[in-house]
């Protein structure tokens, strides 16, 4: 129910000081092998992830996230998939009508570790990089500025809209709107909650369009940035190595098959 936070943890660590693009490259150098080139390797990718967590000094927040978001998801998926995925001969466990086979358990384990790798590597990126820093670095490298505008202004609008929604819910409840009883009443209460929220925020669009137009939003000239993001030689070399590693993993995949 909390929309007004990003995962970013403001501490000083080697990972925080890396260029955002390098961290994005790190994320994809985890995900591409885990899902495409070397899927058998996915469980072992947990090791570099844990190392990254400690280098980034975000252990507390990361394990917190792991407990709240990742573990419930992957445990549920693991149990469901080992119970229900079809195929496989070697029955390990028999629970009435359900058979748990070695094959389905294996495939569930690999799927779950791939999900773990994906969510964890994105989580580390988000824990160590502020979204606006990532966006301004990508914009400097040629991403149209409008994308940065959309992401950053959404992150600013969301808490406001969240607050507005809470106000509207409280106001309509104080007028006797039923948000807790029977199904039909709850459907009926959707319109008085959604209506004021949506129309209120759509009205602001026109004003905002005039405001950003006046500040040269559609100007084609190159814009200067107030906040320079460093991109030292170390980052460039690291990105080069990551690209080579990913290509090597695809070559290895073709060679093995």
């Amino acid at each position: 129910m909390n929309l007004n936070r990003s995962f970013f943890v403001p501490v000083n660590s080697p990972l925080h000081n890396l260029n955002p693009l390098t961290k994005l490259a790190l994320v994809f150098s985890m995900i591409l092998p885990a899902f495409l080139s070397l899927p058998q390797l996915a469980p072992f990718l947990a090791i570099p992830i844990l190392i990254a967590v400690f280098i980034g000094r975000v252990q507390k927040q990361y394990f917190n996230l792991l407990l709240k978001l990742v573990l419930p998801t992957i445990l549920f998926m693991f149990v469901m998939q080992s119970l229900f995925l079809p195929g496989g001969e070697t029955v390990i466990l028999n629970l009435g009508i359900f058979d748990v086979t070695r094959e389905s358990m294996q495939s569930a384990f690999y799927t779950v570790s791939r999900i773990f790798v994906m969510i964890s590597s994105f989580a580390i990126l988000l824990l160590t990089t502020h979204p606006s820093e990532l966006m301004s670095d990508l914009t400097r490298r040629g991403l149209p500025g409008q994308f940065a505008y959309v992401i950053i202004s959404t992150l600013q609008i969301l808490p406001q809209m969240q607050a507005k929604a809470q106000t509207i819910i409280a106001a309509q409840r104080s007028r006797g709107l039923d948000t807790e009883s029977s199904f039909r009443k709850r459907i009926g209460s959707l319109v008085p909650l959604v209506g004021p929220l949506v129309f209120g925020s759509l009205v602001e669009v026109e004003e905002r369009a005039i405001a950003i137009e006046a500040r040269g939003f559609t100007s084609k000239r190159i814009k200067t940035s107030l906040h320079e993001i460093p991109d030292p030689a170390f980052d460039k070399i690291l990105r080069g190595i990551l690209v080579i590693l990913v290509i090597a993993s695809f070559v290895l995949n073709l060679w093995l098959s």
């Binding site: 929309l3 995925l85 079809p86 505008y149 992401i151 959604v194 209506g195 759509l202 369009a209 939003f217």
Partner: protein, 255 residues
């Protein structure tokens, strides 16, 4: 591991088609025409609407998500490309602030926005029963796009409540693809028809002067007819579509 290489080929083909389509629309200036300043300003608001209404629906404990109302809205009044961008960025924002597990679903959200835009362009967002048809088409597209992602990345059974249906269907002996496809087809239409109807109600409440500021504002010009006959037609259409679904699905998923 064979399944994964098949998926890689499938995703590569889809990606190439999307890039060709994008290049065509870009060089014929179709995209640039839709992305005026009003569009760029509407997109963040639409994403915020998606996420906030999604949260309100969670509070009300309704059996739908309704987390793409803003996406459909942008698709209708700013065109399919803007709708697709709204959907994709909406999932990326949800990944940034709620749970990175949202990232892989961005093609589904993009397809929802694009479909809403295409349907609106051919005039299917002008009265209640046409909007119901649009909602159904969006649900079909979301099913087709979502099933491969669900299988390739989440192994078919993800952590959502509808996975129970998938598990049940697998236990009755269906193939994995068939089970996931059927599950999505059961879960999606109600949600997407309700989403489209709510988006239509919002557009209906906006003034013509306001809508005309957007690139495809004329898509939303509501046809005034007799409300009662329209409601009857809408109901008949829904029943027919559901019958069609029940009739066509077993033959689709038999393999």
């Amino acid at each position: 591991m064979e399944v994964i290489s098949q998926n890689a080929v499938y995703f590569a083909v889809v990606a190439v088609i999307m890039i060709l389509l994008f290049a065509w629309a870009y060089f014929t200036k179709r995209i640039q025409k839709d992305f005026i300043t009003m569009t760029w300003v509407l997109i963040p608001v639409a994403i915020a609407i998606n996420l906030t209404i999604g949260q309100i629906v969670l509070v009300l404990k309704l059996p739908v998500y309704l987390d793409s109302i803003g996406t459909v809205l942008v698709g209708v009044i700013c065109g399919p490309w803007a709708g697709a961008l709204t959907g994709a960025l909406s999932n990326i924002i949800a990944g940034i602030i709620l749970d990175p597990g949202w990232f892989p679903w961005f093609p589904v959200a993009a397809a929802i926005g694009a479909t809403a835009g295409v349907m609106a362009n051919i005039g299917y967002f002008k009265n209640w029963w046409k909007v119901v048809v649009t909602g159904f088409v969006i649900a079909v597209v979301a099913t087709v796009v979502g099933t491969p992602i669900s299988i390739a990345i989440f192994g078919g059974i993800s952590a959502s409540g509808s996975s129970i249906i998938t598990a049940f269907l697998l236990e009755t002996g269906r193939s994995l693809v068939g089970a996931v496809l059927t599950t999505n087809f059961i879960a999606e239409p109600l949600d997407k028809i309700a989403t489209s109807l709510l988006a239509f109600a919002i557009i209906d409440g906006l003034s013509a002067r306001y809508l005309s500021r957007f690139p495809r504002g004329e898509n939303a010009a509501v046809e005034k007819g007799q409300k009662q006959t329209q409601m009857i037609i809408a109901l008949v259409v829904v029943v027919l579509l559901i019958l069609f679904g029940i009739f066509i699905l077993p033959s689709l998923t038999a393999g």
